[in-house]
Symmetry: C2
Subunit: 324 residues, 2 copies
């Protein structure tokens, strides 16, 4: 029971079913979706094979309410999943979202979060078709996206071949530079800080790469070296990156200069930007993609893995959870 | 770093990637799944329309480590989703699971949880194809199941028609009786307590109902009155239940007698058993289903909703989150 009008309305004040109504209000469903939210399951058509991916974001681990607006968290929760569908060369179709929330969470947080979710879903062209809602101590968000391959063959991590080139599309190092700035108490450069809060996925680049015949692809979530390491391991190859081929963006340069850091470190090891990295036969790299390296047979000296200018990169490869 | 052999090995000791390897080890994938865990997305074939549903379980809200074994939590996390696919008359195909865990969680908890997940997936015939793992303060579990309609029309909540009968298949009141027993500090009757910890979904009953031409169906997660209320609302009908038609199971009788409670209350309002409730044209109810009520045109007096013996049931209808 609320005691007066001055108190902020919370999730607990509204209750579960009105909250679900609020979240699903005025949803537009595309023709492929025959059953949207409100039944035991959603139902929709899939063209080709189904693709699926899921990500969980936890308050205090993946975001902080004091750093990210609710809308930014919503954008991020959707974008990280759409990037995975993109990285298979697929097309997103449907999305479900589960939300765990403390009862004292202001209702405005949920409303603004859902605005971010819906805006990103619109950008990536995916339909919100269902979800779940529960009480929780920390805000806990789980998004699953189901996509389709259509007429394309899914692009796996295991298809890179010696002689291929490595190319990237999208932002690299922006989120890491933004995080470094935030950790020092800065709120600029704005573009880098915004990238940390909500990635700018290069929607369409994955399908473009698939159409161009990409041999392997991944989205850069943990850092370029770490994620290309997954391609190298799955394909049994060595990838050699040429640092001179990277265009280092102005906001990344600015943060590196302010913190007296190497901007290449942000580019090579920074995660959370969700750029696409792929391998192609030489001469088949599509417009908008930058060639940054080569795929080789693993030699006796270096084995399977990722090199930078022919040598092992010193320092962190990227981010893992539960690091000892 | 561990200091010696006496210390329990934790999630944090092992680290993210070895933990993923442990969880995905020796997975058997059916022919419909072309890409399993380990790439950006899983890929699999869908026959007919895709169906999807998701549920989130949070430690301290949906389960307590002191009450439920890790395997029971695993069973429950999978079963609640499979029941939703069942309630559409669908067939499960693929499942993704996200796990948020504190770094000090013993590794044995995760191993036993995954044993429960895999056993329930085997029972319900669904393939684990991917997931996510992250640090979290409380154990946070999100499962999404993708199913297929095959040659069947999905059975919605909105199809009940005046003149239909209402029938149920599966356990009713067992989990609620088990919870009541646990709350009083009892650990028996074992069958009821076990039902509270992990539901026994009547796998196959939903497809059986769809084949028999069920007009509407739902799985009983919040309580029979509450869930039939969803069918009544979606279909614009009144459902009248006949209390004399319910067979009250021995464990439910035993708990009711011990606590001096009305066993019918457990049957009508107890959730978490994930029985199936459906409506059928008279004479089409399949074997193994019990007729417990009738569907009527809503009259001026009672309107759309659920009655028990022609009257409104006094008291709680079931469970909602964030109740004020």
């Amino acid at each position: 029971m609320t005691s007066g009008s001055a108190r902020t309305e919370t999730v607990g004040d509204l209750g579960e079913f009105p909250l679900i109504s609020l979240i699903t209000r005025n949803l537009t469903l595309p023709p492929a979706v025959s059953v949207g939210p409100g039944d035991d399951c959603a139902a929709f058509l899939i063209n080709g094979s189904a693709l699926t991916t899921t990500d969980m974001l936890i308050e205090g681990i993946h975001f902080r309410k004091s750093w990210s607006s609710p809308a930014e968290v919503g954008h991020k929760a959707v974008a990280v999943n759409l990037a995975d569908v993109e990285a298979m060369g697929g097309t997103p179709v449907a999305m479900v979202i589960s939300l765990g929330m403390p009862a004292d969470l202001p209702l405005t947080w949920v409303k603004e979060f859902m605005t971010g979710v819906r805006e990103e879903a619109e950008r990536g062209q995916v339909a919100l078709v269902g979800g779940d809602m529960t009480a929780a101590r920390d805000i806990s968000i789980s998004v699953t996206v189901i996509g389709e391959t259509g007429g394309r063959t899914p692009i796996l991590r295991s298809g890179a071949r010696p002689g291929d080139v490595v190319a990237v599309c999208g932002r690299l190092g922006w989120a890491a530079a933004g995080l470094a700035a935030l950790l020092r108490g800065f709120r600029s450069p704005r573009a880098a800080v915004d990238s940390q809060r909500a990635p700018q996925v290069p929607y369409g680049a994955g399908r473009q790469a698939a159409d161009a015949g990409a041999s392997a692809m991944i989205d850069v979530s943990d850092g370029l070296l770490a994620d290309l390491g997954h391609i190298a391991a799955a394909s049994g190859v060595t990838i050699d990156l040429d640092p001179a081929r990277f265009t280092i963006a102005d906001p990344v340069q600015a943060v590196a200069a302010a913190l007296n850091a190497d901007p290449l470190k942000f580019v090579l090891t920074g995660g959370e930007d969700h750029a696409m990295a792929a391998t192609f036969a030489p001469g088949t790299v599509p417009d908008g993609w930058d060639v940054v390296g080569q795929v080789h047979e693993p030699d006796d000296e270096n084995g399977v893995g990722v090199l930078v200018d022919g040598a092992h990169w010193e320092g962190d490869q990227g981010w893992t959870h539960f690091r000892s």
